[in-house]
Amino acid sequence: MWKFIAKRLVSMIPVLLGVTLIIYLIMSMAPGDPAKVILGEQATPEQIAELREEMGLNDPVLVQYGRYISGLVRGDMGESYNSGLPCQVEIFARFPNTLRLATVAVTISVILALPLGVLAAVKQNTLFDGISMVIALIGISMPVFWLGLLLILAFSLNLGWFPSSGSEGLRSMVLPAITLGFNHMASIARITRSSMLEVIRQDYIRTARAKGVSEKNVITKHALKNALIPTITVVGLQIGAMLGGSVMTESVFAWPGIGRLMVQSINKRDIPMVLGCVIMFSVSFSIINLIVDILYGFVDPRIKSQYK
C-alpha cells in the first residue's frame, strides 16, 4: 500500500507542474502592467521600468515561471499587488475555513445521500423512490448560489434561525454547508441508487437471501459494500465541482475562505493572489483524488491486491 501511495505521489509531480504552468501562462495573459498596478497612476515611466526590472518582468515568461516555481516549492507564492504582503500568508489563513466548510458539506451530503440512494433502490418503483429521485434531480439542477439565496431568505431573514453571513460559531456554518452539500447529495444519491440496483440483482445477493441472511444484512453487509465503488468515484469527482461551488457559496454567505478571497482578488486585479488561490485549489483537488484512490483499496479487496 505504501509503495502505491509513494508511486501516486511521484506521479502527481508532473501533473502539478503542468497545472501551475497552465495557470501561470493563463494569468500572464492578463492585460495591464503589474508594475503600474503596484506603483499606481502617479508613477513615472522610469519608476515603472525600474520596478519591472526588479520584478523580472522583462524576462521571458518561462523564466518567470521557473522563478515562481522555485519560490513555490519553498512556500513563497509571491507578493500581493494589493496589500504587498506575501500571498501565502492570506491563503493559508483562509484555507482552513474553506476546508472546514467543504468537509462539513461532504459529510452532510454523504450521510443523507447514502440512505436515500439505498432506500430508493430497495424500494424501487415506490412513492419513496419517486420522491427521493425527484429531490435528487432538483438538487442536481439547482444552482448553488440560488439555493444559498433561498436559504438566506427563509432561514435567516424570515425565521432568523441562522446568520446570513460570517463564520463565527457552528450556526453560521449550517446554511453554507447545506448549500454546498445539497447538489452533491443529489448526485451521490442517484449514483448510489443505480449502483445498488445493479448489485442487488447479482447472484451472490440471491444466494445470501437463499441462505436465510436477514434483509438488513443482505443490504448492509453484502450489497452496500459492493455498490460503494461508483459512489466513492462520484464523491471524489464531486469534490472538484465542490471546490468550484465553494467559490459561489463563500461569496453568497461572505464566508472567509479562499474562494471568496479569489473573487475579491479578481475584482482588484491582484493576479499573484488569484494565481495562488487557483493553485491551492488544484493541489487540494489532486490530493483529494489520491485519497479517493487509496479509499478504493479499503472498500474493494480486488483493488487492494493490485497495490501489492
Partner: protein
C-alpha cells in the same frame, strides 16, 4: 445493369435503411420515456425563445430601458414576474436571458466538442507519442476544477461574452477528448476499419467517416449534460460579476442583482433562479433519456 452495380446499389439501400431504422429506433425508445420527452420539448421551446428573442423583444425598449415610476412592482397582471429596481419587466428580461444562457452554452459546448473530437480522435487512433502527449495534457487540464479554470481564464482575459465562451470551451475540452479517445479505442481494430484501410481510405476518412460515427452515442449524452453544466457555470460566473456584463439580462447576473433586494422583493431572485433550474432540469432529463435510449443493453 451489371451484376456488380446491382450489388453495390443493394448494399447502399441496405446501409441507408439500416441507418434510418437505427435512428428511428433510438427516437422510438426516447419517445417512450415521458420525462425525457418533456425535457426535449422544453429545451426546444427554450431554443426557439432564445433564437427569436430579438424578434419578440426590443433590446432598448423592453429589456434595458429604465422606467423608474414602475420600479419594484410585485408580480401582477401588468408584469407577471414583477419589475426590478429600474422598473424593467422581469418576465421580458428572463425570456430574453434565454438567448445568453442557451446560445453561450451551445456555442461553448460545440467548440469543446469540436476540439475534443479532434484531440481525442488523434490520441485514440494513432496511439503512441501522440496519445501520450495529448492525454497527459488533458490530465493536467482535468486536474484543475472546471469552474476554477473558467474563472481563471475570465479573470485573466477580462469579462466579455467572447472571453466567457473561450473560458467555458477550454474547460470542456478534456472531458470530450477522453470520451472520444475511449470510443475510438473500442472501434479502432474492428473489421470494418480494417476493410476501409484495405480499400485505400485515408486516415481522415477512416476517423471521421467510420470511427467517430460509431462512437457517437456517449458523445451525444455528454454534449447534453455539458450544455447543462455550461449554463450553470455561465450563470455562476455572471453571479460573481465575471460573466455576461451589464445591462445584458443573463439569468446569473439578474440573480446577482437581486441579492440586494432579496429581503423585501424576493420575487426578483425567484424567477431567474427558476429559469436556470428548469433549463438544467430539462437538459438532465433529456440527457438521462438519451443515455437510456442509446444504451444497447436496455433495448
Amino acid at each position: 445493369m451489371s451484376e456488380n452495380t446491382k450489388n453495390v446499389n443493394a448494399a447502399e439501400i441496405a446501409a441507408k435503411y439500416k441507418k434510418k431504422s437505427q435512428t428511428a429506433d433510438i427516437f422510438r425508445r426516447l419517445a417512450k420515456n415521458k420525462t425525457a420527452m418533456i425535457g426535449l420539448i422544453v429545451v426546444i421551446l427554450l431554443l426557439i425563445l432564445a433564437l427569436s428573442a430579438d424578434l419578440l423583444f426590443d433590446f432598448e425598449i423592453d429589456i434595458t430601458k429604465q422606467n423608474i415610476s414602475d420600479r419594484l412592482q410585485a408580480p401582477s397582471s401588468d408584469h407577471i414576474f414583477g419589475t426590478d429596481e429600474m422598473g424593467r419587466d422581469i418576465f421580458k428580461r428572463v425570456c430574453y436571458g434565454a438567448k445568453y444562457s442557451l446560445l453561450i452554452s451551445f456555442v461553448a459546448a460545440t467548440i469543446s466538442l469540436a476540439i475534443g473530437l479532434v484531440f481525442g480522435a488523434i490520441a485514440g487512433y494513432y496511439g503512441g507519442w501522440a496519445d501520450m502527449i495529448i492525454m497527459r495534457f488533458m490530465d493536467v487540464l482535468l486536474a484543475i476544477p472546471g469552474t476554477l479554470l473558467a474563472i481563471a481564464i475570465v479573470a485573466s482575459l477580462g469579462t466579455s461574452i467572447p472571453n466567457l465562451i473561450i473560458a467555458l470551451s477550454v474547460s470542456g475540452i478534456p472531458g470530450f477528448s477522453r470520451i472520444v479517445r475511449s470510443s475510438v479505442l473500442t472501434v479502432r481494430d474492428a473489421e470494418y476499419i480494417e476493410a476501409a484501410k484495405a480499400i485505400g481510405a485515408n486516415d481522415r476518412i477512416i476517423i471521421f467517416g467510420h470511427v467517430l460515427p460509431n462512437g457517437m452515442a456517449p458523445l451525444i449524452v455528454q454534449s447534453t449534460l455539458r450544455i447543462a453544466s455550461v449554463i450553470l457555470t455561465t450563470a455562476g460566473l455572471s453571479f460573481l460579476g465575471l460573466g455576461v456584463p451589464a445591462p445584458h439580462p443573463e439569468w446569473g447576473a439578474m440573480l446577482s442583482n437581486a441579492r440586494s433586494y432579496i429581503r423585501d422583493y424576493s420575487y426578483m431572485a425567484l424567477f431567474p433562479g427558476l429559469a436556470i433550474m428548469t433549463t438544467i432540469l430539462c437538459l438532465n432529463l433529456l440527457g438521462d433519456g438519451l443515455r437510456d435510449a442509446l444504451d444497447p443493453r436496455l433495448k
